[in-house]
């Protein structure tokens, strides 16, 4: 086995036993990148020199301090909507084509403190708006399982680089499924933590009340280790929650006996592919066999999820994206005679079509005369969806569903059909609206493309998700399959 093929916990064990060095790991991953990146296009920026320098520093540190954290020397890919001081951060948008942040996102600061090595910045749908990474203004990332299909989105670059072994761990961000859906498409593990579990400071905002940073990893153990490192209250983020962070590794228990698992009826019905449905029902059967009590549960409000989401997320986005105006940083149009023309031309040239569509939709939603009918009503429906989850969690320890209605679709297949693209997040969106955590893990293959199982828990029940996901993983082989590149 090459070093780049290993998980973070396996590499940590090797480092601990002095069987390898941070520099060897980084060189192995960089070697892998140089071999496959041309076909995958997962990265926006690769920090080759900085990563090697940093690895040498870490090796010196390991030699002198002898104490290492689970992330020491581990190469981590960072989605390009997270600010990295001194490193180009574009959100895959033309409007930030030259933006070099003067500060680090809190999560970046945390992994640096832990001794991890930022290996590069990954491609995404512009401002995380999309489900295929095709909305990047720069490049199309390809699914390592089939280079003709999309990796999902918006964290497509991060998911693809984990699947292709181009990084050991990767940060994703999830507003409506942007970690879980690409995890599902790329056959990796992706967790969207509870809203407030991880600081959003330094995450370029799409929809502030829904955005959450989380891990994309090769297995469930790495997801737990990575969440340990990024979770916690942050004084710079008022919406981060001041609750102690448990050691998530302790919830990696191979046991689901007597756990009550609900299979969401509405997410196995219309619009869900039959082979995907089959994989999910097989997963449910396995959990039952392992001792869980599995029952169907009906959640009638979930069908309003996508509509509610596209009112609220776009409303917040229209405001969050106002700061890109050519005045302070980023792209500024060179053809403008006055201020208004400068604003218009800068934004016309700087934003891609999907971002413009959402800004217009969101602006409309918040406009005088429409606010009550759209924004306020959507907030009320959001509460109903939350209530539906609360009700379900009074009966169940966790809920399961497919992560996405289908496996990865072909590049170009849905770009002209935004509605069908939006519907690919039908199973993930309600989770963001409710602010609760969910994990996607590999649970099968359809036509050699991975299928993801979504496990949903109540707020701050990440331990429950890790336990169920770990048990499933220990009793299946799906996560061991790797794409041939």
């Amino acid at each position: 086995m090459e070093l780049f093929e290993l998980t973070a916990h396996e590499l940590h064990a090797k480092l601990d036993r002095k069987e390898t060095s941070a520099e060897e790991i980084v060189r192995s991953v960089l070697g892998r990148i140089s071999k496959v990146e041309n076909s995958v296009s997962a990265y926006m920026t690769i920090n080759i020199d900085e990563a090697i320098i940093k690895a040498k520093e870490i090796d010196e540190y390991i030699a002198s301090e002898k104490k290492i954290t689970p992330l020491t020397g581990i190469p981590i890919a960072i989605k390009d909507n997270m600010c990295t001081r001194g490193i180009l951060t574009t959100a895959s948008s033309k409007i930030l084509r030259n933006y070099i942040p003067p500060y680090n996102a809190t999560v970046v600061e945390k992994i640096l403190q832990a001794g991890a090595i930022p290996i590069g910045k990954t491609n995404l749908d512009e401002f995380a708006m999309g489900s295929s990474t095709e909305n990047s203004a720069y490049k199309v990332t390809r699914n390592p399982w089939n280079l003709g299909t999309v990796p999902g989105g918006s964290s497509g670059g991060s998911a693809a680089c984990i699947a292709a072994n181009e990084a050991i761990l990767a940060f994703g961000s999830d507003t409506g499924g942007s970690i879980r859906q690409p995890a599902s498409f790329c056959g990796v593990v992706g967790l969207k933590p509870t809203y407030g579990r991880v600081s959003r400071y330094g995450l370029i905002a799409f929809a502030s009340s829904l955005d959450q940073i989380g891990p994309l990893t090769k297995d469930v153990t790495d997801a737990a280790i990575f969440l340990n490192a990024m979770a916690g209250h942050d004084l710079k983020d008022s919406t981060s929650v001041d609750l102690p962070v448990p050691d998530y590794r302790k919830s990696l228990i191979d046991d689901v006996k007597n756990l009550k698992v609900g299979v969401i009826k509405e997410l196995l019905g219309e619009g869900i592919g039959s082979s995907v449905k089959k994989s999910i029902l097989e997963a449910a059967d396995l959990l039952k066999k392992l001792g869980a009590k599995v029952e169907e549960v009906s959640m009638p409000t979930l069908k309003y999820g996508v509509a509610t989401y596209y009112l609220l997320a776009t409303a917040e986005a229209s405001s969050n994206l106002e700061r890109y105006d050519g005045v302070k940083y980023g792209h500024r149009s060179s053809v403008a005679d006055d201020l208004i023309a400068m604003y218009y031309n800068t934004r016309r040239e700087g934003f891609g079509p999907e971002v413009k569509r959402r800004i217009m939709l969101g602006t409309y939603v918040l406009s005088a005369g429409y606010y009550d009918a759209y924004y306020l009503k959507a907030q009320k429906v959001r509460t109903l969806i939350k209530n539906d989850f609360d009700k379900a969690f009074s009966k169940f320890d966790c809920l399961i569903s497919p992560t996405a209605p289908s496996p990865a679709f072909k590049i170009g297949e849905k770009v002209d059909d935004p509605l069908s693209m939006y519907l690919s997040d039908i199973a993930t969106i309600p989770v963001n609206l409710a602010g609760i955590p969910a994990i996607s893990i590999p649970c099968g293959f359809v036509n050699d493309l991975p299928v993801g199982l979504q496990i949903i828990g109540k707020a701050f029940s990440e331990e429950m998700l890790f336990r169920v996901a770990y048990t499933y993983e220990q009793n299946t082989e799906w996560h061991k399959r790797k794409p041939k590149l």
Partner: protein, 481 residues
């Protein structure tokens, strides 16, 4: 036709906190451009606001002083509009649920008490400042620069009920409110520097009519006087329009201090749709009762109470009490002095007379002088004892104010103590008598006025130090010899 004006005010006060409302940058005025800035207040991608607790405390303090209700739950909203001095292109401001609801401030105009209701007090962030190259304004400039030092400086907006009926009342209200804010220590009250700004909503209606007329909003009033002048001008304009059969248009108007008139800025149709919605990056403000109680304990004596006390307990006339309470620093100094000195009226005379005249001439405040209340009282005591004369004390006071020396040192240096002793006065008196034979003859011939001339000569020779009583006795005695 007789009309009455209906006026409501919106007052923006910059709060005197050390740091800005949503980041740790200094909120101080006057630093070099773009030195008090950080990723948060320059609206970098990915940053988040964090509410400064002190800002909430100051607003609650103000709300309590205005007898308003502290809302159990208030929330910030985003007010969206594009302007280069607003880095995020939205301003974080309270909208539907303000921090303080209700309240009132009672003022006195022409001896009559008047109750002005407060609608609400809420918090928001200030914008930056545009600087235009090569011209005073945008017009004719070659380029524009933006200074973000002021971006995120905390602002408190106080909105009144439409209870104000005249320009004079508006002016007095702003003055009294300013006093209150300065007393609370939450705002420096400087209208010229813009730390206190005022907008007015003005409409007129026939006397006796119930319904309100169409209102206009007048902006850009930078002093108490311009508040009064702007409202006068707008009432006059509206009256003339109605009298000539025209209709008032709802709009925002700008006051020009040099012409004394208001001109249209934007019509109702041109008004922004600010697309307000709750700020998702902040959590609701929910001050607990205990904290509010603690804040209420930090409120010290307010101007109205101080004025009453000075009149009732210390017997000062209303004029004195007004002048003293209008300047908190002066009033504080007065109170300090009162602890050491009983004659309040004499103290007041000195403070609002010679001391204030000196401060005005130097264009400084009482905080800028370097003598203590104890030193000031020492001077008054010396006058009362007769050690120095009232007249020489004036010069001594100036020396004290300028040099920071104690009165005793100055008196000792200049020898300014009065000459009581006959033995000290005899030589100089003898000299004057010798040199003024005509006055002596006149006096002896019954001309009393000649005595004054002789006294004047002695005073001149002693640089005013001769004690008048002692001198007069001595002179009469000598002349009768």
């Amino acid at each position: 036709m007789k009309y009455e004006a209906v006026i409501g005010l919106e007052i923006h006060a910059q709060l005197l906190t050390e740091s800005k409302i949503f980041c740790g940058c200094s909120a101080k005025f006057g630093a070099a451009p773009n030195t008090n800035i950080c990723p948060v207040c320059t609206g970098q991608p990915g940053v988040l606001p964090v509410l400064n607790k002190k800002v909430v405390e100051f607003a609650i303090k103000t709300g309590l002083a205005l007898k308003g209700n502290v809302a159990k739950r208030s929330i910030f909203a985003r007010k969206n509009y594009f302007y280069p001095d607003l880095p995020k292109n939205y301003q974080i401001s309270m909208y539907e649920l303000p921090l303080i609801v209700g309240g009132h401030l009672d003022i006195t105009v022409d001896g009559k008490a008047k109750h002005i209701g407060i609608t609400r007090v809420h918090l928001e962030e200030d914008a930056g400042k545009l600087v235009h190259k090569g011209a005073a304004g945008l017009k004719g400039s070659t380029g524009s620069l933006v200074d973000f030092n002021r971006t995120g400086v905390p602002l408190m907006e106080i909105v009144t009920e439409p209870d104000i009926r005249s320009p004079e009342e508006a002016k007095v209200f702003v003055q009294e409110l300013r006093n209150l804010l300065v007393y609370l220590g939450v705002c420096d009250g400087n209208m010229e520097e813009g730390s206190l700004r005022c907008d007015a909503n003005i409409s007129i209606r026939k006397v006796g009519q119930k319904e309100l007329g169409t209102k206009t909003e007048v902006k850009n009033m930078n002093s108490f006087k311009s508040v009064q002048k702007a409202i006068e001008a707008e009432i006059k304009r509206q009256t003339e329009m109605l009298e000539s059969g025209e209709r008032i248009v709802q709009e925002t108007r700008l006051f020009d201090d040099t012409t004394g008139t208001t001109t249209p800025m934007r019509s109702k149709e041109e008004a922004h749709d600010y697309r307000y919605f709750p700020e998702p990056d902040l959590v609701p403000v929910e001050p607990d009762r205990k904290w509010v109680d603690e804040i209420s304990k930090t409120i010290t004596e307010l101007p109205s109470a101080k004025k009453t006390r000075l009149m009732k307990d210390h017997g000062l006339p209303e004029l004195d009490a007004n002048v003293l309470t209008d300047d908190k620093a002066l009033a504080d100094f007065f109170d300090e002095c009162l602890k050491l000195y009983k004659n309040a009226k004499n103290l007041s005379n000195w403070m609002i007379g010679d001391l204030t005249a000196y401060l005005k001439a130097k264009k400084i405040g009482i905080k800028d002088i370097n003598i203590t209340s104890a030193q000031f009282i020492e001077m008054l005591n010396l006058i009362d004892k007769g050690t120095i004369s009232r007249n020489s004390a004036k010069g001594i006071m100036v020396k004290m104010l300028e040099g920071g020396k104690s009165v005793n040192d100055i008196v000792a240096e200049s020898g300014a103590t009065q000459m009581f002793d006959e033995n000290d006065l005899i030589p100089v008196t003898a000299e004057v008598i010798k040199n003024n034979p005509r006055s002596v003859t006149d006096y002896k011939g019954g001309k009393e006025a000649a005595l004054s001339h002789l006294m004047g000569q002695v005073m001149k020779a002693t640089k005013g130090r001769a004690n008048p009583e002692a001198l007069k006795t001595l002179l009469v005695k000598e002349l009768r010899k």
